[in-house]
Symmetry: C2
Subunit: 400 residues, 2 copies
């Protein structure tokens, strides 16, 4: 098989850890596979460099930040190649530029435009373990760019897609994707397989393992993504297209997103364009509105509710006060979003009603509801969040 | 004026120091000059990265070492550019590649082939302070290369030559070139000007400020080199072509090289080819022979003397024992080389005899003598080395 493996910051956080990674890579090679490795900077390194820049200014220019930050992954890729060579294996370290990763011109948050796989393929054909510095690329002008948060995952997925690798393994310090956060529900089980769409729901709902950008790219490029731990031999979770998942569980997991605040406008004039006005203004201020609920009004007025990330609530208040859309606005930061996710619910009814039943039995009031084909999300009081997760986890038999 | 300034590791050793460097650069800009800055890695950084690599192997592959080591200068160049930008100046950081520094393929000890100055010149014309990562370049294949010890000085000199800068200032933690080592002779005076050739004699004789490679390149490219301290405002020493030095002192300074060992072969057969045999063999083992003395022999045998760096003496012993050139070989690590250097001696006689007189008066026995147009070097017993320096310094009135 042709395998892309990506090792995150904690996985390469010390020289000892890099040595462990080298051993793991060699085990893959000895099993008969070809591998391309993508590495992050040693944990703490990117923060250190960012702090260095902030010594001079809180707003360093992004072109120079990219040059600065990209050095961290160059160090790890060189060291891992050296570690592999020292164990008698042919290895070569490549910068983002040398790996042919071309991006747009948006410094510190670039998007990958294309990957010129010539060099990677040549080195692979010559029997090398190819070690690529993640997180970075170059623009068409030859400027160094970086891909923003989760950038090394993106590098790995994009490379895997471009060289049509059989799998792309993302190594972190957690075992994979769980039916829910094991810190909330110790009975949470690791999932063997999950579809891209379910993963996207999980990620946006708070699972920290993978950024949505990477999952979206994997879906687009049809890359079989595996998240697993570099600290043990456990198997991890395969994220793949729905067709590859034979036995579709009704519900795959329960997600909890604590970074939510609810905004409710009472007595909004129920006339065309009022929602557009509010949400355009919020979008203009780069506030990420999540759930939006509007009911048909009575007597020409209606109630409008939506949620925003908790840390954007203050900014939201300012915007709302400015546009004066309603006399009575209720802001509540003490809410969480609990979501039931599963591709199986596409073909089964009753999933949503079971969720409502379950919370009702626990006397948890549901403030807002939003559904999609594969999830049911509910806004509840923060203090009931973990109880809601546990009772839903049990109601859908996820601990079995 | 168009000025190239190079700041060494201690000059950019901390964020505070980088800030000081930024202020100095701005002072130069405000005086109406255009500047290109070349920076080393923060002091200790290159050693740290080398130690990292040595965790895995004592002999890391050089291609990967170059990728690893080149990251240090990228960090400093980015940070200095950010510091300058934060003070309201237009600045841009360039890697060796972006600065157009092309080298041969010899990783970790590459030579600069050519500099494509297009990018540097464009950025200068746009009113930027151009900050270049020193020590590094790229090969024609697009591989990252580094220039070896003193590499950032070389980058600076090569850039200065290519853009025909008026001066190239090399900032370190010392004030410039002294008539001799001030730790040996506190009356040593800083030289205002010195010719390339004198500097070359000084450098090879132990002055640590500048590597010979940089001085040779400056001579070749006719770059006016100034070495000065980044820790004060003192003027430094201009190293320039002899024609630019109006008042040529008879003697510019006294150098002491402690890293010397003497080898004497007694009763060598005085026949053609014997010297060639010995020194070819030593060259083959990469032993740097310095002084060589051979007298016309008597009765078909002669004595042959030469010096090697003290740390290469053991290797030299092995070679000499193998070729068995003479029955009696005398190895003496306890010698030093004292040299009197000055372009003025080209046109004046009596400089050498004054040196011999001076040492004779101090009862210092001269074991070997070697002269060139601009220097007289003498091998003496190590314990008399500093006394010899002080007495010669005084004899030529260098303290006046």
């Amino acid at each position: 098989m042709l395998i892309v493996q990506k090792y995150g910051g904690t996985s390469v956080g010390t020289l000892e850890r890099i040595d462990e990674v080298a051993k793991r890579v060699i085990k893959t090679i000895e099993a008969g596979h070809n591998v391309v490795i993508v590495v992050s900077a040693m944990s703490g390194e990117t923060n250190k460099l960012t702090e260095y820049a902030k010594y001079f200014t809180q707003t360093p220019q992004k072109r120079e930040m990219d040059l600065l930050l990209s050095s961290g992954e160059r160090v790890t890729s060189s060291l891992l190649a050296i570690a592999l060579q020292s164990k008698g294996y042919k290895a070569v370290a490549l910068t983002g530029r040398q790996a042919g990763i071309y991006t747009d011109e948006v410094h510190t948050g670039a998007r990958i435009d294309k990957i010129d796989t010539k060099k990677i393929n040549t080195y692979l054909q010559e029997g090398n373990i190819v070690v690529v510095a993640g997180f970075q690329g170059i623009t068409n002008n030859g400027e160094v760019s970086t891909l923003g948060r989760g950038g090394s995952d993106l590098s790995a997925v994009a490379i895997a897609g471009s060289i049509t690798a059989d799998i792309c393994e993302i190594y972190t310090d957690v075992d994979g994707i769980y039916t829910t956060d094991p810190r909330i529900e110790p009975k949470a089980k690791k999932l063997n397989k999950i579809s891209y769409d379910e993963m996207l729901e999980f990620a946006s709902l708070g699972a920290k393992v993978l950024q949505n950008r990477s999952v979206e790219l994997a879906k687009k490029l049809n890359v079989n993504l595996i998240t697993r731990s570099s600290f043990n031999e456990n198997e991890g979770t395969l994220i793949t297209k729905e067709e590859n998942i034979m036995e579709k569980p009704l519900v795959s997991g329960i997600a909890l997103d604590k970074n939510q605040a609810r905004v409710t406008l009472r007595g909004v004039k129920d006339e065309p364009g009022i929602a557009a006005k509010i949400f355009n203004k919020l979008a203009h201020e780069h506030i990420n509105v999540d759930m939006i609920i509007q009911n048909i009004g009575l007597d020409g007025v209606t109630n409008l509710g939506f949620t925003v990330p908790e840390n954007e609530l203050e900014e939201t208040k300012k915007v709302m006060n400015k546009i004066n859309a309603s006399k009575i606005i209720d802001f509540d930061p003490n809410v969480v979003k609990v979501s039931v996710v599963g591709v199986g619910m596409k073909s089964h009814s009753g999933v949503a009603s079971k969720a409502f039943d379950t919370l009702a039995k626990e006397n948890i009031n549901i403030q807002m509801i939003s559904t999609s084909e594969i999830k049911v999300s509910m806004i509840v009081d923060e203090k009931y969040g973990e109880l809601a997760v546990r009772s839903l986890h049990s109601a859908y038999n996820l601990d079995k």
